[in-house]
């Protein structure tokens, strides 16, 4: 019986080539959109991470703290919740940086002695780059002996964490809209395909085919069309990836730094194909719901 159902499904695919190709094609296109989005979003993730790295809390130290004492403080601060990295910046290094940032001109030549204090540059773990994370850190560090003043760019964090939320929700939202659109389009297409074959289904039912006998081959067809659509989408995405990445490589480096843009891993690629198969099956299932013998 299973053999008959599978054979019926294969014959169905063959005998209605137009609708099968159309359905698989539509699924492929929908998945290309979703997949391209996933690729872009995935690679952007790294970019956001790097932006976040620039968030630092700087603890300016009192002038009588020497390197050894500073080293102790570094170790102490490193234990605070959410702290990822702590770096000690000596007054000399600080002046050097200021010079660099002012463009290397002779602007600070007139200074008789180094007015800049030593500092600790504290980097938060990504999960703590929020106003709350900063508050915890500030509370822990502010009272420490030897700490003169804390600079923590509260505004910056506010902005960063909000942008992060915004971008993430935009990504989730856009991804959701795309997935929903893909679902609707595929359901629509398969509904049309069922519609085009309504007579066939009606005849099968008239000669005594059970619901299972009518539906299972149809679901199998849909699933297969979807899987093929998924494979095609994967192929198209890979081809586009291979062709486009060298084109934009140079520009991408500005964003991603040394991080190479990456394609789907095998597991992710399998998910894409599975998503296609699932779409095809659900689309067929939904279309069959609308159909009554």
């Amino acid at each position: 019986m299973v053999a008959v159902l599978v054979r019926t499904a294969l014959r169905g695919l063959q005998s209605s080539a137009v609708t099968s190709v159309a359905a698989a094609g539509t699924i492929a296109i929908a998945l290309v959109l979703v997949g391209a989005f996933a690729l872009i979003a995935g690679n952007m993730q790294g970019l956001l991470q790097r932006f976040g790295e620039e968030l630092q809390v700087v603890a300016y130290l009192e002038s009588d703290i020497d390197a050894a004492a500073a080293q102790q403080m570094v170790e102490r601060v490193a234990t605070v919740e959410g702290v990822q990295e702590v770096e000690w910046v000596s007054p000399e290094r600080a002046l050097e940086r200021l010079r660099e940032s002012l463009g290397g001109g002779g602007l600070l030549e007139g200074l008789e002695e180094n007015p800049l204090p030593a500092s600790l540059e504290i980097t938060l773990a990504p999960s703590h780059r929020t106003p709350e994370g900063i508050a915890i850190l500030v509370e822990a560090v502010d009272g420490l002996p030897g700490v003169d003043e804390l600079a923590h760019g509260q505004d910056w964090v506010e902005g960063y964490s909000r942008v992060l939320v915004l971008v993430r929700s935009a990504a989730v939202g856009l991804g959701g809209v795309l997935a929903l659109a893909a679902l609707l389009i595929v359901a629509n297409t398969i509904r049309l395909a069922v519609y085009a074959r309504e007579d066939e289904l009606a005849i099968l039912s008239l000669v005594g085919a059970s619901r299972t006998f009518v539906r299972v081959p149809f679901l199998l067809e849909g699933t297969l069309q979807g899987a093929v659509g998924g494979l095609v989408a994967l192929g198209l995405l890979y081809a586009a990836f291979i062709m486009l990445v060298p084109e934009v490589q140079y520009g991408l480096e500005l964003f991603l730094g040394s991080q190479q843009p990456r394609f789907f891993a095998v597991g992710e690629a399998a998910w894409l194909v599975a998503a296609g198969a699932g779409l095809g099956m659900c689309g067929s299932g939904a279309a069959m719901l609308g159909w009554r013998a």
């Binding site: 099968l204 008239l206 000669v207 005594g208 085919a209 059970s210 006998f213």
Partner: protein
């Protein structure tokens, strides 16, 4: 002789088709079938005649649950088909071979597949199915066309494919709606012999037809419908 009343009271377990005061109305106020009662015994061969629109096709449709009666009871193989659950319909239909007036062949399948579908739905093993289909197509004279598509067949050829599909799984009941309307006289006789042969092997047969020559030639029981009502019921 109006025999309907008499026959309907003639209850018996061996009557696979029994109708009691059956009416069918598609559109409010008009009846395609009106108060029809009759009984057909196992292995009986019955002609159903009557003018265009008399309700012949409607009567057949009620028997294989393609339509539900508006009134009355229909027992097919002892089961009330008017009240059959949706899920029980396929099993009923697998016992009934139907030759549709408009053939209802699957246009995108070959002749062989069209006939074979009646065996596939019963789960017949492939090897057996193939053999039966070939045998059946030979009987209707179409074995050489078995890999062609219905749309490339002549009207009469399509009609024979439809008949082959109805007969291939040796149904208990055969309902044939105008099965020779597109056949020439010689072929009509050949095909009718097949149908009569099935009835002698125990299949209960109803043939709806306008061909009075056919009715006269075979001299079988003939039920006449007129405007949805039972007319004559001649043995």
């Amino acid at each position: 002789m109006r025999g309907s009343g008499r026959r309907a009271t003639h209850a018996g377990g061996e009557s696979p088709i029994r109708l009691y005061h059956v009416s069918k109305s598609y559109l409010a106020g008009s009846f395609a079938l009106h108060d029809v009662s009759l009984e057909i015994r196992k292995g009986e061969f019955v002609f159903l005649t009557g003018p265009s629109g008399a309700g012949k096709t409607t009567l057949l449709k009620l028997l294989f649950a393609a339509e539900r009666p508006s009134e009355g009871q229909i027992l097919v193989r002892g089961r009330n088909v008017g009240r059959l659950r949706e899920s029980a319909v396929p099993a009923l239909r697998r016992r009934i071979g139907v030759v549709f007036q408009d053939f209802k062949l699957l246009p995108r399948r070959t002749v062989e597949e069209n006939v074979r579908v009646a065996l596939d739905v019963t789960g017949t093993p492939p090897r057996e199915a193939r053999a039966k289909v070939f045998q059946m197509l030979k009987q209707v004279g179409l074995q050489h066309r078995r890999f062609h598509h219905p749309l490339s067949l002549s009207g009469g050829e399509q009609q024979r494919v439809a008949l082959a599909r109805a007969l291939v799984n040796e149904p208990e009941i055969l309902l044939a709606d105008e099965p020779t309307g597109n056949l020439d006289p010689e072929l009509t006789l050949e095909i009718m012999d097949l149908v009569v042969g099935a009835s002698t092997r125990g299949t209960t047969v109803i043939v709806a037809t306008h061909d009075m020559g056919l009715v006269e030639r075979y001299g079988k029981r003939t039920i006449r419908l007129e405007g949805g009502r039972m007319g004559e019921d001649l043995q």
